[in-house]
Point group: C2
Chain length 206, copies 2
């Protein structure tokens, strides 16, 4: 015998997460996001490593409410984001990693496709960047910010891994704008998508 | 300055992972898989929790080599699997979670869409099940195995979470067939996709 009702499963899951968390200083909306990152990884360590800067959660919700343009670095983050909630919010979502021109530019310039994809996204305007995998994407966003070429409302930067990921997120936390990042090596496209979904649910419900 | 060459990034990353791992008893092919799960999560704990049963890695590679049919429980796992390697191997991949009939059946029977999707997949034959998210999918696979209704060659079962996930994987480890699972709450669609990719790379290269 096992629980087969999806709502019941999710409720029970969040009860267990809440009960398992330590004391913390998150506000209610931040807590919603942290709990969803724990939910998506099975890893309580996220309560220690998720970092909000410059009123990131409220700014994210405010960006989503009137409808906004979201860009992800990976197809996995793209596909993990709840499309029904997205539609309800009137938000659009794009990902350029498989774009033929991006592929060509990356090869020509000897840069990652993630970087070339950010350049292409930036040229069309982006409200929320969602970076779950590529440190190089986050570094590129920083360069474009410094050059004044983009003005997103929120950056979700949770690249995973051992080469540049921690550094890229440390760098992102210096941006003078709302960011949601993780400390250290952990993160990923699933974590990125979970953060977006938590914001969507707070902005427009389920 | 940061490394912008994707191959260089991946090589350096795997060197760091190898250097950071403890002593272990994995054979070379199992190690390949464990390293990729660490790579995709940034979490060295995977060296402690990935469990191979009944010669799972070799059986998986042997299933892939002549081409096989793979089914995932989520779109995220689906989208995280390397399509170029998949094509090279002559494998197909499907996911039924958004299928209209699956949605209808789930509602009518009061079961999860994941379970209904497994039923639909099973009716068409499956060589490798890839379950990254839904404990109920893994429980259903067990039921179908017990009923003699399916005969997959490998089950990758790494549901994440706090309600049934650990139990579903413990159950899967009792199946008298090749399985790759994780112990405890950790796992996820990204982990599932990473395991499939590691198998694909060993079977047909990059």
């Amino acid at each position: 015998m096992y629980i087969k009702n999806p709502n019941q499963i999710e409720h029970k899951s969040f009860d267990i997460i809440e009960a398992g968390m330590k004391e913390h200083n998150f506000n209610e909306q931040e807590l919603s996001i942290v709990k969803r990152t724990i939910h998506t990884t099975g890893d309580f360590d996220y309560e220690n490593i998720v970092i909000f800067k410059n009123n990131a959660v409220l700014e994210g919700i405010n960006a989503i409410k009137p409808g906004c343009r979201i860009v992800t670095d990976t197809k996995m983050a793209f596909s993990g984001i709840n499309k029904i909630a997205l539609q309800k919010a009137g938000c659009t979502i794009d990902n350029y990693i498989d774009n033929e021109e991006v592929r060509k530019i990356a090869q020509e310039l000897g840069i990652t496709r993630s970087m070339a994809a950010i350049d292409m996204a930036a040229s069309k305007g982006v409200d929320i960047f969602v970076i779950g995998n590529a440190p190089t994407a986050l570094f590129r966003i920083g360069e474009l910010l410094e050059e004044g070429k983009i003005s997103p409302k929120l950056i979700i930067g949770v690249p995973v891994g051992f080469v540049g990921a921690a550094e890229s997120k440390e760098y992102a936390r210096t941006f003078n704008m709302p960011t949601i990042t993780t400390e250290g090596t952990k993160g990923g496209s699933n974590v990125a998508a979970a953060i977006v979904n938590a914001l969507l649910y707070m902005a427009v419900g389920r």
